[in-house]
Amino acid sequence: MTYIGQSVKRVEDKRFTTGKGKYTDDIKLVGMTHAHIVRSPYAHAIIKSIDIDTALAHPGVVAIFTGKDIAAAGINGVPAGWQVNFKDGTTMKEPPHPLLVADRVKHVGDGIAVIIAEDLATARDAADLIEIDYEVLPCVTNPAEAVKAGAPQVHDNAPNNICFDWELGNPKAEVDAAIAASHHVTRLDLVNQRMAPNAIEPRSAIGHYDDSKDKFTLYTTSQNPHLTRLLMCAFVLGIPEHKVQVVAPDVGGGFGSKIFHYIEEALVIWASKQIGRPIKWTSTRSEAFLTDAHGRDHVTTAEMGFDKEGKVTALRVSTFANLGAYLSTFAPAVPTYLHGTLLQGLYTTPKIHVDVTAVFTHTNAVDAYRGAGRPEATYLLERLMDTAALEMGMDPAELRFKNFIPAFDGVTQPGYQTQVALQYDSGNYEPVLERGLEMVGYENFRKEQAEARKNGKLLGIGFSTYIEACGIAPSAVVGALGARAGLYESAQVRVQPTGKVSVFTGSHSHGQGHETTFAQVVADRLGIAMEDIDIVHGDSDSVAFGMGTYGSRSLAVGGSAIVKSIDKVLEKGAKIAAHKLEAAEEDLEYAGGRWTVKGTDKSIGFGDIALTAYVPHDYPAGLEPGLDFSSFYDPTNFTYPFGCHIAIVEVDAETGKVTLKRFIAVDDVGNVINPMIVDGQIHGGLAQGIGQAMLEGVAYDAEGQLMTGSFMDYAMPRADDLPSFEIDRKVTPCPHNPLGVKGAGEAGCIGSTPAVVNAVMDALTPFGIIKNLEMPMTPQRVWRAMHQK
């Protein structure tokens, strides 16, 4: 029986599709109260006074806490989990992010008070009875504006609103010289717009203090419950970790937004002890738009130099990254180590310099959002490539072939050392583009395009050949880059006496299908049926430790940790089997769930060995009973999936409306365990990346009010916005993890965005080379681009 490589149906889908998933908001505890958070309606204002007396007297209100109570209790703000230093070596500015603000609010949605009541309607009613007197102050929302002299200041201790400045790559003077000496330089001024993650399940948190055990339980919508526990206990509330259980039950999507430790989690835990009852808080969709950490938001100037033949000579990038009003958990890492380090792309660019200024503004926090930094890097690189091809009169595919890094397997050939710190593990880039061109029928398309233009139809094709760094790890590397946590993963494989297997993983599935993919790996390695395996995740009392799920890391890192524990199980199993079969260990082979003495018919099954391990009557001398192993896996490198995405669009010449006609994706994510699940990840990622190109975008007005605060204004991609995707794969195994897997969760989202924008630029070439196409490419923007002077 082989499970790996099979499109096994997802075992978790039965409960999800029959309404039996158990999400945080489904949990009801005895005596549970409900919290509503009063939030700032202003982007920047001094709280002159708060009057809670009437609200507190409202029947059914249990308690109200404000920023003053939080300050009086000596509670710290939520911390950043990653430290980036200024170019001069000084530490980044890290202003406090209090659980509730007592003095000066810094974005619309900033928490001011929490009302706890017997039921949610009462809590909400009481909110209308709280009187807050504000002095409204000027605000700034754009990062390039925020650094200018005289801009409103978000924090007292961050002059010019700068959190840090940062650079990476070759010395700037060398890159400047290479750009100056280039035959051609393509320059783009780009905005990678702010995105709202919009997981289908809004955030939710239940805090429960059990005084009989002096123990807290937090149920929360988290992608990494252990990290939430660590940050909340050690940095915010000062509660010993062994006194806190964090459970992230079924979680309905995250896209990064549920990695982070949020104020509401610490609030319900702290307040539950104050009132002696459990407290549930669940975000409304409106609050989700205001407070779930947003993504992207870069304002960038990028220049790429070329020689006469079209070889890239240098890349120079300068970015203002908007971090919002406060530092979210991984915010400092995203525009730096997840962005600057990817600017080599798939190309042999010899000189690269990237300069990043991270900026505070009066907006919601920005942090990792599917792809996190890598889409921003890919966007500017791939926009530069297609634009340069047009400017130099070259074919965009040909320009890429000229510049690809030659193939290397990372085993017999070394990895590829980039100019921006990373060393790629293995890569073979030409085949993905070749396959993409074949699938799209490139030559025919160009003919069709020429014909269409004669008839006034605007057809265009856009390319993106991307690389990403996934399987975020290893700890020593990320530590050197400023991470305040390790980035390994843990796994425990517990063989039960009957031979059934429970696997405890520190990865966290919030839609990825770990209960299926991981079980396929375990079943194959142990030679047992998938039905005999249970994957347990998301509970800090069950799982030893975990770093959670993000950065396409679960299979590459978490899956590898499971393999490590399985190896230990089989090693000990072999000792027991050798004893039972009266043979030497080296004479045994393990296949199909049985140890067999080579060349004989003497064998013993996995179940018998499991039982023997727990009923060790006839047992190897000196060997411990039991069959239960834990491992921590810390990889030696990131993994580097790559691929080629091609978009074909038609632009309505009269209205500017873009229709995506075809989308081709050829991805290389290393080995594949479950093709159906990988296809699903690619499809979802494509929808998200295309959504950024065509539809989505968070917009604040001049007063810092969110103009896109509901699905009536924030356009999500829907099925009828998208064509039927044409996808294929190449396989270049990862050389440094036991499964040879690279990760597939973000690929679709990273590669697709520039392909769509490039296709629109190509369609509009009858109007000239239009470089200033801003995302989302709404019809109005495209129409204006066509008609600009």
């Binding site: 309607a121 909400r124 009613d125 409106s286 409306k657 204004d713 109005q780």
Partner: protein
């Protein structure tokens, strides 16, 4: 997203609904499909003391021929209208417009009466009913009255509907033979309401446009008949040139909306494009 407290009444008949609306000291609102009202309640933009749910009143849900008109009961859903063979036969733009509203879930529950009573400037029914030359039947305890659509829609979220009155029927005159109608809509990508919706009804006799009615949604702060476009085409040959010239008159002299997705100049341009597209469908 929790509404303020309200009483909920489900009416079984129009008379019962009218009685429930007539409660002293209670601000009562009619609930039909709820697609506009319920979000407003959840955001506490509207805080009625009572809701009178008329969506299940059987006597209000029908589409039938009544003399020279088609009578549509006010709680008919968008889906009912989209699927009506009677309307498809006589005035195709109604089913066409219904099929462009929201998504299947919205169309299954949202009602034509609720939509016109709300009179969102970007909703689809108001302009379609103007171009159809429809009448709106209203009932109150005092009796029944019938208004031309033109007299019903008064402005931005504003209609002639009085307190204690319910929209009970929409009457659409059956056009003369040879008349064609269409509704062409440019959608706001998030809400899929109309940035520009153009309803056009044209009768072509012997190659000449003998009757032209054109109305817009989404362009101004309320739906409107565009007489400039109509007058530019009436009596003219149904040619592409004449259609384009008439369409070029679109949205003249009205105060044009401007928002995140469409500023004034772009919206006006779209009105011209969509007038041309609609007229081309019915007269081209």
């Amino acid at each position: 997203m929790i509404p303020a407290n309200f009483e909920y009444h489900r009416a079984g008949s129009v008379d019962e609904a009218l009685s429930l609306l007539d409660q002293p000291d209670v601000y009562a609102k009619v609930l039909s499909g709820g697609h506009s009202l319920i979000p407003a309640l959840k955001l506490r933009l509207n805080q009625p003391g009572a809701l009178v749910d008329i969506a299940r009143i059987a006597e209000l849900r029908y589409i039938r021929q009544d003399g020279n008109s088609i009578a549509i009961g006010s709680t008919s859903t968008h889906k009912d209208i989209a699927n009506s063979a009677l309307l498809a036969q006589h005035i195709a733009m109604l089913p066409e417009a219904a099929g462009l509203i929201g998504d299947p879930q919205v169309r299954n529950v949202g009602t034509i009466g609720g939509s016109i009573a709300h009179a969102d400037p970007a909703a689809d029914w108001p302009g379609v009913l103007l171009a159809a030359d429809a009448e709106i039947v209203l009932r109150s305890k005092a009796g029944s009255r019938t208004l031309a659509a033109q007299d019903f829609f008064l402005g931005f979220y504003s209609t002639a509907l009085q307190e204690g009155e319910i929209v009970t029927e929409i009457r659409v005159p059956i056009p003369a033979a040879g008349t064609k109608s269409t509704y062409q809509k440019f959608m706001q990508p998030a809400s899929r309401f109309a940035i520009v919706g153009c309803a056009a009804v044209v009768q072509v006799s012997d190659g000449t446009c003998s009757m032209v009615r054109v109305a817009f949604n989404g362009v101004a702060d309320a739906c409107f008949r565009d007489v400039n476009v109509e007058n530019a085409l009436i009596g003219k040959a149904a040619t592409a040139e004449n259609i384009a010239a008439a369409a070029a008159q679109a949205a003249q002299g009205v105060s044009i909306l401007s928002d995140h997705y469409a500023a004034e100049d772009y919206r006006k341009h779209l009105a011209v494009v969509y007038a041309k597209r609609a007229l081309t469908v019915v007269a081209g």
